[in-house]
Symmetry: C2
Subunit: 362 residues, 2 copies
């Protein structure tokens, strides 16, 4: 591969392993697997799912639903609160595919019923403790109103939750605690009101063995994973399937730092906290690895501890620092692969060197 | 303007005010004004500079140099360490425009001299205390080697510095301290080795009255400014010339929070720390304002304190919360306008509602 500037490498084999592992878990649980496509934004990777007979997907925006509809996806859930301003596109979607939307207020549901001409399904977005958005499960009046408003044209599908607070966890026990709470909340709602229950964060779906309480799972990040997921315990470093190749442009021997062409516009400013070679806690915007002909090594050699628009700074131990020179390409395992992928217009497959374009921003 | 999803609004009048103020300062100092274009990424905004007879610009990547060359810019400095891997594009640039590159090692300079066929200029990238990259000004041997390597084809232009540590300042005094130190360092280098001295961060260039110590200034952010610059003291809130229009998609009365369609993929995860309506210190990813027919009000009504991929969460005081409803558009003044602009494929002018496309990612 001919890489001269920051370029997202994707290891197709690892993606398939991650996909097959999650699919097997969904099958074992007798549930629907509706992967979230907000991680990869890619019709090509959508086709990888299709090669495993997966025919339904989740997206996080109306634009993304349009993009995947145009690439042959006919059953899409927009897992983001209903945006009344994008009614035109939702109308178009409702008339050509099975579209599901998320509802959390009577006003939004009434708006959808009045303005969407095709048939759609709606999920009640349920807050299982993340407190980002969604209906409080104790709000029985609102829930009953939303369920009872179901019609043939705009029909209640069930309850949908994203337990995003697992992203703050550091171990199995805390993820399990959230998972158990969420299971209890959603199961009680299903028992009372019917419909299906749909659940979906990558830590829960990766770390819990038995997902049979749910009718549907919607993880997304697991196809790539990333350093944040590795820190939570969702994956091992060898499961991380994306790596940003970046050129080394400067070395500072007085402080064992290298400068790479790889900044906030390539990686995103999402971060975790890591201990550097001086045993100091530092922000980490990505972990450095060595590139090989067919991908990258899994041994990490340092991390990006400072990041400006185009510059990344990595402090290294003497034994590694000595071997890096200006003009080399190194790899960065992203902290948050969804945001890194969003910043890239394309990715290169390490298997065949092929360039794949992603969903364009419009 | 018909806005239905996150859209960057640009106030052209404010941009011209910001531009004219900086241009006047450069003229007063008898210096060259070579604005940095990494803030706006836009040929159209380049034309605004051209309407003021500005003919030289700064960019942060080889791709950006190619884009602005293709839009008629003939004198460009790539203010990023020389990347030997992009020699092909630099060769093309060197043969069609006046290209300046940054050098901080003998190896990179030798590589450029050997591989670039056209005539180019080089600046010695000088570390004035930011410690991101650049030559230590005390490294006299290296500096002399770099200066003496000048040839007709690859000629030494002078010393260039970016005092990015002003971005961590909170007041005039601390910016002035950095400015004075930098002036001293660069002036001493100029006196000893000749060439010009080029300086460029937005806080210094905005807050210091007298820039006459420098031969050239290269600020970029000032064309838009943003909330971070307002906090440093580089600008007032009314100088901020960009605002992200975002739809409100949910309200949570129990915690006075609204949810907007406006997340990390729209604003970036860059942040400052702000006090919220509960007087708690919280991360701030952008300040909420009200949109008007012709732009936005300058009174801030809250800030984005949590941000996921597509969701932004804003906690508001009762009196403001009561007036917002789902389906409204509100404005977000970005924390870091360069990164927000990078995430947008276009901007809409509040003056004439015209859509302008930006440099595409390739």
């Amino acid at each position: 591969m001919q890489v001269r500037k920051p370029t997202l490498l994707v290891d197709q084999e690892k993606c398939f392993q991650n996909m097959d592992r999650m699919l097997a878990k969904a099958n074992k649980a007798n549930g629907t697997f509706r992967p979230h496509f907000k991680t990869h934004f890619s019709a090509e990777i959508g086709d990888w799912y299709r090669s495993r007979d997966i025919r339904q997907c989740t997206v996080s925006s109306v634009d993304m639903a349009m993009y995947f509809k145009n690439h042959g996806w006919e059953d899409i859930t927009i897992a983001f609160p209903y945006n009344p301003l994008q009614i035109e596109e939702m109308n178009e979607l409702s008339q050509s595919i099975q579209l599901n939307i998320l509802i959390e207020s009577v006003e939004s549901l009434e708006h959808a019923k009045k303005n969407i001409e095709g048939r759609i399904g709606y999920f009640i977005k349920t807050d299982v403790g993340y407190h980002r958005t969604g209906v409080d499960p104790r709000n029985e009046t609102l829930i009953a109103d939303l369920v009872n408003a179901s019609t043939d044209q705009c029909s209640f599908r069930g309850f949908l939750a994203h337990a995003g607070h697992t992203y703050g966890c550091k171990d199995f026990e805390s993820v399990k605690w959230i998972f158990d709470k969420s299971t209890k909340i959603l199961s009680a709602l299903k028992e009372k009101h019917g419909g299906i229950i749909s659940y979906g964060d990558t830590p829960s779906c990766s770390m819990m063995d038995d997902l049979s309480a749910f009718d549907e799972i919607r993880p997304g990040n697991f196809i790539f994973y990333d350093w944040m997921q590795k820190n939570i315990g969702s994956c091992n470093v060898e499961d991380i399937a994306v790596c940003l190749a970046v050129p080394v442009v400067a070395k500072h021997a007085d402080r064992n730092e290298i400068v790479v062409l790889g900044g906030a516009v390539h990686l995103s400013k999402d971060r975790v906290v890591e201990t550097d070679v001086m045993r100091r806690e530092q922000p980490c915007f990505g972990k450095m690895v060595q590139l090989t002909g067919q991908g990258w090594d899994n041994e990490t050699l340092g991390h990006v501890s400072r990041l400006s628009q185009e510059h990344g700074i990595i402090k290294m131990a003497d034994e590694h620092f000595a071997h890096v020179k200006v003009g080399d390409l190194i790899g960065i395992l992203p902290v948050h692969s969804c945001l890194t992928a969003d910043l890239q217009p394309k990715y290169i497959s390490v298997t065949d060197g092929k360039r794949n374009d992603k969903m364009p921003k419009a």
